[in-house]
């Protein structure tokens, strides 16, 4: 859902962190840097921003000068040409008009070039920023990724980056030009009268503080708008996603009241924020009107006591205009700058988070070839801030063996396989694959030799073939078909409407849960790993698919080391060895036949399996 909004009330930036559970999880970095430091680092993140900046600034200066000079020149033509004493001065008028025309054209040209260059550099810089941040998100560990809502992560590479664009395209350059204009205006004014210049500054300074104060209120107001909008969209979402529940339980009236309440609350928050934001420009108008009034009064007095001529005062009054424009602009620029800094802060929050599971990269060891042996050596693990979930695990798994891991929910079996795939690192102890410490294995080697098939096989919104190919991009359609046939699934493939080209829908939702699992298995098969780790699905699929999955699994694990979290009796039965987890420890170990015969955790589990599926 992308809301192309021009107002700054996008719900994408709802403050998700505040209510996210597990506050002890390794969350994204929170910057405490000053606004100025953030701005400097932010600009430095994309070299495109500053490339060729001197030329752009020069163009901007010319364009701004042109904007100031043209009306002045027109004034000259009128005053000294048309209304010249002793009749219109034709020569002067024609000459100045020609000059003016040239000036107008040059100004327009410079203005075009400046803006075109700005768009080019800004958009290129933003694209770089997006890419850097996106890549970094993927480099973060699973735990860090899960500490944020997915939508909040997405906004770090989308709307947060977009927030920077207005400032870079418009505010940044104007800041430079306006500062220049302000300086020039001040100097020119001071030439006429330093007293009046001082007066103008004294009048305008409070405005700057006032605007800052207003902006602090404003950012609070916008935060509220985002919160309310988030709530409202949540309720509207319920009417859509929960349509069946609402009808089934007859809660239409209650939902309608919630709609009314949240829509109204959003509107009120918006109006409140609008009241503050619209106050800025009138305030600037008011201050400038006040300044004019005071300057006129004081100016006349200065004139009367003889320290200022009438011409000087009139000229000064004109110069105030030159001063007011960048001053009013400054309030808007500050607004944009604050937005941009907020955006950069959030992007930097991603970039400043060190990946806690680091790839040893080039200095890493590749895994020796052949079937993989596993050794856990006194491994302990606790989730950040949580109790210990794996307690002194020491276990050795021979190359080529099929191992089933069983245990109740919360016994530590999922953590066991997460450590095995290095989604997390153990707190204490070592994990060795073929005798090499897992921490020293280069990711390129690890990810191609060790493959995890998660419970919910995520599919991308593309074709079946593309999804399978995700594991091995160079695989041809023939190879994929061959793999499917080898897994005994050719009949299923033939039943799909477009075969390999069948679109799977968002998250694979055009396929059934069982079919999604099949695709994940094919994907693992085509990756051809030496160590296969499976987290089997619990949810009941229809029996025909279930049998298919079981069959494919048998073929997939043949000839490789495999570790499967077993939710089904059959997996445990078919394994060479069963590891029984209970409260973070391995309490039993042996073949299915051995364990069933012995009283204990496994025998109990087995009994309940038999009861439910017989």
């Amino acid at each position: 859902m992308s809301a192309p909004t021009r107002t700054r009330t996008s719900p994408a930036q709802a403050p998700a962190e505040a209510s996210t559970p597990a506050p002890t999880a390794p969350a994204l970095h929170r910057s405490t840097e000053s606004a100025w430091a953030t701005l400097r680092r932010g600009v430095a993140l994309s070299p495109e921003f500053t490339r060729g900046l001197p030329v752009t600034v020069a163009l901007a200066v010319v364009a701004t000068l042109g904007k100031v000079i043209v009306p002045l020149a027109v004034q000259q033509i009128i005053d000294n040409g048309l209304l010249a004493e002793g009749g219109p001065d034709i020569g002067f008028v024609v000459a100045t008009v020609a000059l003016c025309t040239a000036l107008v054209v040059v100004t327009a040209l410079c203005s075009y070039l400046m803006n075109a260059r700005l768009y080019q550099s800004t958009e290129s810089g933003l694209a770089t920023l997006r890419r850097t941040a996106f890549r970094h998100v993927h480099d973060l560990s699973v735990l860090t990724q899960n500490s944020e809502r997915k939508g909040a992560l997405v906004s770090r590479v989308t709307s947060d980056v977009d927030q920077i664009s207005t400032f870079m395209q418009w505010g940044g350059i104007l800041l430079i030009v306006s500062t220049g204009q302000l300086a020039i205006a001040t100097v020119l004014m001071a030439v006429y009268s330093w007293q009046l210049t001082l007066l103008v500054w004294v009048c305008f300074l409070p405005l700057l503080f006032g605007v800052r104060w207003l902006q602090r209120l404003l950012s609070k107001a916008y935060l509220k708008v985002r919160e309310r909008t988030g709530e409202m969209l949540g309720v509207i979402g319920e009417t859509v996603v929960g349509a069946a529940v609402i009808r089934a339980y007859g809660t239409e009236e209650r939902t309608a009241r919630r709609i009314d309440r949240t829509v109204l609350a959003t509107r009120n928050a918006q109006v409140k924020a609008q009241r503050l934001s619209m106050a800025v420009s009138p305030l600037a108008e008011l201050v400038s009107a006040f300044t004019y009034a005071v300057v006129i009064a004081v100016g006349i007095w200065l004139g009367v006591i003889g320290s200022l001529t009438a011409g000087q005062l009139v000229a000064f009054l004109f110069l105030i205009n030159l001063f007011v424009a960048p001053m009013t602009m400054a309030t808007e620029i500050f607004n944009e700058a604050q937005n941009a800094i907020a955006g950069w802060r959030r992007v930097l929050g991603v970039l400043d988070t060190e990946p806690d599971i680091a790839d040893p990269g080039a200095s890493g060891t590749p895994l020796p070839h052949g079937p993989i042996s596993i050794r856990f050596d006194h491994v302990n693990y606790a989730y950040p801030g949580g109790p210990r979930v794996l307690d002194d695990i020491t276990v050795e798994i021979a190359p080529g063996s099929r191992v089933a891991v069983v245990g109740e929910t919360g016994s530590g079996k999922t953590t066991f396989v997460k450590l095995l795939t290095r989604l997390m690192d153990p707190d204490e102890g070592k994990i060795l694959l073929n005798g090499v410490n897992l921490r020293e294995v280069a990711f390129s080697s690890l990810r191609s030799r060790v493959v995890l098939v998660p419970q919910e096989g995520f599919l991308f919104d593309s074709t079946l073939a593309d999804n399978i190919r995700f594991a091995r991009p160079e695989a041809t359609d023939e190879q994929i078909t061959e793999a499917i046939t080898q897994l005994g699934l050719s009949e299923w493939l033939a039943g799909l409407p477009h075969g390999l080209a069948t679109p799977v829908g968002q998250r694979g939702e055009s396929l059934s849960a069982g079919e999604r699992q099949l695709v994940a298995l094919i994907r693992a098969y085509i990756a051809d790993p030496d160590l296969l780790i499976l987290d089997e699905a619990t949810s009941a699929v229809d029996p025909a698919t279930e049998v298919r999955i079981q069959h494919a699994l048998d073929l997939l694990t043949r000839g490789r080391t495999s570790v499967a979290i077993a939710h089904r009796l059959s997996t445990a039965e078919a394994a060479d060895e069963v590891l029984v987890f209970d409260r973070g420890r391995i309490v039993q170990r042996g073949t299915h036949a051995e364990l069933v015969a012995r009283p204990g955790v496994y025998a109990d589990l087995h009994a309940s399996w038999v009861r439910s599926s017989a």
Binding site: M1, S2, A3, A63, L82, V93, V97, V104, A108, Y112, A116, Q120, S124, F134, R135, H138, V142, R149, V154, T158, G234, I236, G237, T239, V240, G242, A243, A244, V245, A248, E252, A256, V263, L264, Q270, V271, Q274, M278, A279, P282, L283, E285, A289, F290, I296, V304, L308, S444, V451, P454, G457, L459, R507, S539, A540, D542, P543, W609, S612, S613
Partner: protein, 638 residues
């Protein structure tokens, strides 16, 4: 892996203009006072802006010059001068503030009004309509589309004020000098044409960029959603490349839009300036001939400079119109969608389990794939079908189904995927109405019951559960007036009490996306408790315990039989044999028709399809066991 954008070129024709004006007129009619206040603000600002120039001139001439020349003045004169200058500035500020505030107010009011209308319409529209429209699209109808529709309200008051000023200025120029006015009549249409050309070129480019922007977001969303798969297969580089491609397409589109803006803005500024210069030249000639006075020329030149800003505000308004029209069409499609659920006046009497009879029932879905929807651009109304009654092919799901559910009995619905079981449960709960045939509840047509009657008595627990962004308690009660004892009782029956008790704040724990997340099995158990707390007279479980551990499932279903459900009628959709065996009767469905019904044993004996389905898993296990014992034998022999 999202493909290129399907954003069609929006046509910026006169049709869009008239339609856009109609939309604006709706807003003006709805909020006449707010609109008037905003326009008044715009006019006040314009008048004060014009006045401020002449006031400053007058002050210079009448107060400053004489005072300084004569080296004396009166406090009264200086005070008056200052006061007048300040007053004009104050009016300017007042006008500016009023225009902005009331324009915003109007915009937000209209947004709120239509968001509310759209969301309430979602509540009224039948489930069948919801099923035809993807959730993402409906959400953006209520959010982005409503917002886009009323976006032009922000520049509207200023544009209206400007138009008035243009007319007045044109009159003033005509009155001053015909020939010089003609220059204006050349320059201003030129500006209008430049504006139009710009809108024509920029709108499609901007729409395109907007589509690319949402693609960038889609790619990121999908990639982060699948982060685990990306990570475990080591595909970070590939994903970054995919994202970079999307980001670069957006960059190029944005640069293209930016270039056009960069070219247009200076042009808009230059045109009036050039116009002034032309006026001065021609004016000079006419001055020499004595056709005009110098004052006339100055006045017209002044009018020119004054008018360049209002012209731009018209441009902003026109620029927002195409998006507004697209948004409005999509919003109206929802508001005008036909359908609703018809109710009668019947009351549901008595107590205990409901008797339900299904008579010759048929049901079909419209075959609209989500891809057909939501692709509507300005290319006319294709896409969202407003009525849902278009000639779309229909897929028959249930055919001539006749069925009786006796009060207090448990019936199992069994059948392969796609046999129509879930649809049948929805018909039983009257979430949808049949195309043909009837569903009779206690002998009365379900359509004749008053609103809420059936909803109170029938509880359907679907396979995928919806959890509201609310507390556990509210998710269970859904506004029903029950105390916590009853809530806990229902949770106990659903075997959800222990995990709820372990939640940080018990019943007050917030669930949903911004709250604690639950596992699939936990969600299902909550949904079950939600149904049980209502003490339904007909309980329908549509594979409602599929994500629950088999052990727990057996305990839940066992508990239901013993529980005080006052002899409720129960329908279960099931695959697991243990579940099926709990039923008094099994109804076996295949391809939308009832193939057989009877007890589990009867069907096992006489229905080959049923036998295959129910025993598929056991057979596989047996095959494996046989293979295992063979290899064990072989080993023993060795």
């Amino acid at each position: 892996m999202a493909q290129g954008p399907a954003a069609a070129k929006p046509d910026v024709s006169s049709r869009v203009f008239t339609e856009g004006m109609r939309i604006l007129w709706i807003a003006i009619r709805t909020e006449p006072w707010v609109f008037s206040a905003a326009v008044a603000g715009a006019v006040l600002y314009a008048v004060a802006a014009v006045a401020s120039a002449s006031v400053l001139g007058a002050v210079a001439e009448q107060v400053i010059l004489p005072a300084i020349m004569e080296q004396r003045t009166t406090v009264a004169a200086v005070a008056t001068a200052s006061a007048v200058v300040f007053a004009v500035g104050f009016l300017k500020a007042l006008g500016l503030g009023a225009r902005r505030f009331y324009a915003g107010l109007m915009q937000y009011r209209m947004q709120a009004r239509y968001r509310r209308a759209v969301a309430r319409r979602y509540l009224e529209l039948p489930l069948a309509w919801h099923q035809r429209h993807p959730a993402g699209q409906l959400l953006s109808n209520a959010n982005a589309d409503v917002e886009a529709t009323w976006q032009p309200l922000a520049p509207l008051p200023m544009a209206v004020g400007s138009t008035a000023m243009l007319v007045i200025a044109a009159g003033a120029m005509l009155a001053t000098d015909l020939v010089l006015a003609l220059v204006g009549f050349v320059v201003f249409p030129l500006l209008a044409i430049a504006n139009l050309v710009f809108q024509r070129r920029v709108s499609p480019a901007a729409t395109h960029a907007q589509a690319l922007r949402s693609q960038v977001s889609e790619v990121a969303h999908e990639s982060f959603d699948g982060a685990l798969v990306v990570k475990t297969l080591g595909r970070e580089d590939m994903e970054t490349e995919r994202f970079t491609r999307a980001a670069e397409r957006l960059r190029d589109a944005q640069i293209r839009v930016g270039r056009m803006r960069a070219a247009f803005d200076p042009l808009l500024e230059a045109l009036p300036n050039l116009g002034v210069l032309v006026v001065l030249l021609i004016g000079l000639i006419r001055l020499q001939r004595g056709d005009v006075t110098a004052g006339d020329i100055v006045q017209i030149a002044y009018l020119f400079t004054l008018l360049s800003l209002p012209i731009r505000s018209l441009g902003w308004l026109l620029g927002d119109l195409p998006r507004s029209v697209v948004g409005w069409r999509r919003v109206s499609a929802v508001l005008n969608a036909q359908g609703g659920t018809d109710y009668g006046k019947e009351r549901l009497h008595g107590e205990g389990g409901l008797a339900v009879s299904v008579r010759n029932l048929s049901f079909s879905y419209a075959d609209t794939s989500p891809a057909d929807l939501g692709r509507d651009t300005l290319e006319g109304g294709r896409g969202l079908d407003a009525t849902g009654n278009e000639e779309t092919p229909r897929i028959t799901v249930l055919r001539d189904v006749t069925l009786d559910l006796a009060p207090g009995k448990v019936t199992a619905l069994v059948g392969p995927t796609g046999s129509g079981k879930s649809t049948l449960t929805m018909l039983l709960a009257r979430l949808v109405d049949p195309d043909h045939g009837d569903v009779l509840v206690n002998g009365v047509d379900a359509r004749r019951y008053a609103p809420g009657e059936l909803a109170c008595a029938i509880a359907l627990v679907p396979q995928t559960t919806f959890i509201f962004d609310d507390t556990v308690r509210d998710n269970i009660t859904l506004g029903l007036d029950v105390d916590d004892t009853e809530v806990w009782q229902a949770l106990r029956l659903a075997h959800a009490d222990s995990f709820v008790a372990a939640l940080p704040r018990g019943l007050d724990t917030r669930l949903g996306e911004r709250g604690t997340s639950l596992s699939g099995g936990q969600r299902q158990r909550l949904a079950l408790a939600r149904s049980l707390v209502r003490r339904p007279r007909l309980l329908i479980l549509d594979d409602a315990t599929s994500a629950v551990d088999p052990q727990v499932e057996a305990r839940i279903l066992g508990g239901l039989r013993e529980a005080d459900l006052a002899g409720a009628t129960v329908v279960v959709v099931a695959y697991r044999r243990a579940t099926i065996e709990l039923a008094d009767e099994v109804v076996y469905l295949e391809q939308g028709t009832v193939r057989d019904r009877g007890t589990h044993e009867e069907l096992l004996a006489r229905s080959p399809g049923y036998r295959r389905l129910v025993t598929a898993y056991e057979q596989a296990a047996q095959r494996r066991a046989a293979a295992a014992s063979r290899s064990a034998d072989q080993e023993a022999v060795r």
